[in-house]
């Protein structure tokens, strides 16, 4: 039941991130990005499991900044591995948005195409 909600959450986040409807920001933890809503926030970070493989972890923080829940791509997959690339892609999109990579590239390309 919880896994269904997590999957739904990830899918909605991916769609909203693609449409630029969520505002990803850098979080204090290294390689961690955050997006906030009125009463809750999500953080998306990279971690490693016991075997040393990369894990993408989403944590849910409440209005007091306490982590109330967290899950990784492994919790969603049931061994299928379908959510690893989805959350990996989400992580890279969140990173690009938080660091303003696309904005910087667009501006540079704009100036290259239309020099002074």
């Amino acid at each position: 039941m919880a896994a269904d909600k997590y999957q739904h959450l990830v899918e909605r986040l991916v769609a909203k991130t693609d449409r630029g409807e969520v505002d990803w920001k850098e979080a204090a933890g290294s390689d961690t990005f955050q997006v906030s809503f009125a009463n809750y926030s999500l953080t998306l970070s990279v971690s490693q499991n016991r075997e040393g493989s990369t894990l993408y972890v989403i944590s849910i923080l409440n209005s007091e900044g306490r982590t109330v829940d967290s899950f990784s791509d492994e919790d969603l997959d049931d061994g299928g591995g379908r959510y690893y690339p989805i959350m990996g892609e989400l992580y890279h999109k969140a990173r690009r948005q938080a660091l303003g990579v696309d904005k910087a590239l667009d501006e540079i390309l704009g100036q290259l195409d239309h020099p002074f």
């Binding site: 204090a28 933890g29 290294s30 955050q34 809503f37 009125a38 926030s41 209005s63």
Partner: protein
């Protein structure tokens, strides 16, 4: 009894009855009018009390917000000198102040709420990051942490300016 005969002949009983009805109706109208007048006065007094309460709450919110921004500036100074032990206390204090600000002002806009929530989240992840770095014996990247704090200070400062302007508008409107 001549007086009773005189009263009967002049229909004084009927006149008294009519006068009684007129007096009753007039009294009823006056009572209704007074009730309505005191009700609207009570409503006006209640509205004024509400507005005063809102203004006081607004001043308290602005004051708490200013305190939060001052603590953030202090945290940036502590980052620069690497005072980790003091920092952890200040993170906790700041988080409490920001949570208090939201509780004090339930009528703030969703956009403001999101920005405060974002600052609380930055702070929570910062606290966690500094605690971890401390236990691992490696100093955190304070330059990066200060950059994130400056970002949140800018956002909170914009909210403070909006709140102050809204408070002044309300205060002008009540005059």
């Amino acid at each position: 009894m001549p007086i009773l005969i005189w009263i009967a002949e002049n229909h004084l009983a009927d006149l008294a009855s009519i006068a009684g009805v007129v007096i009753s109706i007039t009294g009823f109208i006056v009572t209704v009018w007074n009730v309505r007048r005191s009700k609207s006065a009570a409503e006006r007094a209640e509205a004024a009390a509400d507005q005063t309460r809102r203004m006081i709450r607004g001043y308290e919110t602005v004051s708490e917000f200013s305190a939060a921004i001052a603590i953030m500036e202090e945290i940036k100074r502590l980052h620069r000198v690497g005072q980790v032990d003091m920092l952890l206390d200040r993170y906790a204090t700041l988080r409490k102040v920001l949570i208090g600000v939201r509780k004090l002002s339930p009528s703030i806009s969703e956009n403001m709420d999101v920005k405060i929530q974002s600052a609380v989240t930055t702070l929570a992840t910062m606290e966690d990051h500094v605690e971890k770095s401390r236990s691992e014996g490696s100093p955190p990247n304070f330059v990066r942490l200060n950059r994130l704090l400056s970002r949140d200070i800018d956002d909170l400062h914009a909210i403070l300016v909006d709140m102050t302007a809204a408070g002044e508008r309300e205060s002008d409107g009540s005059r």
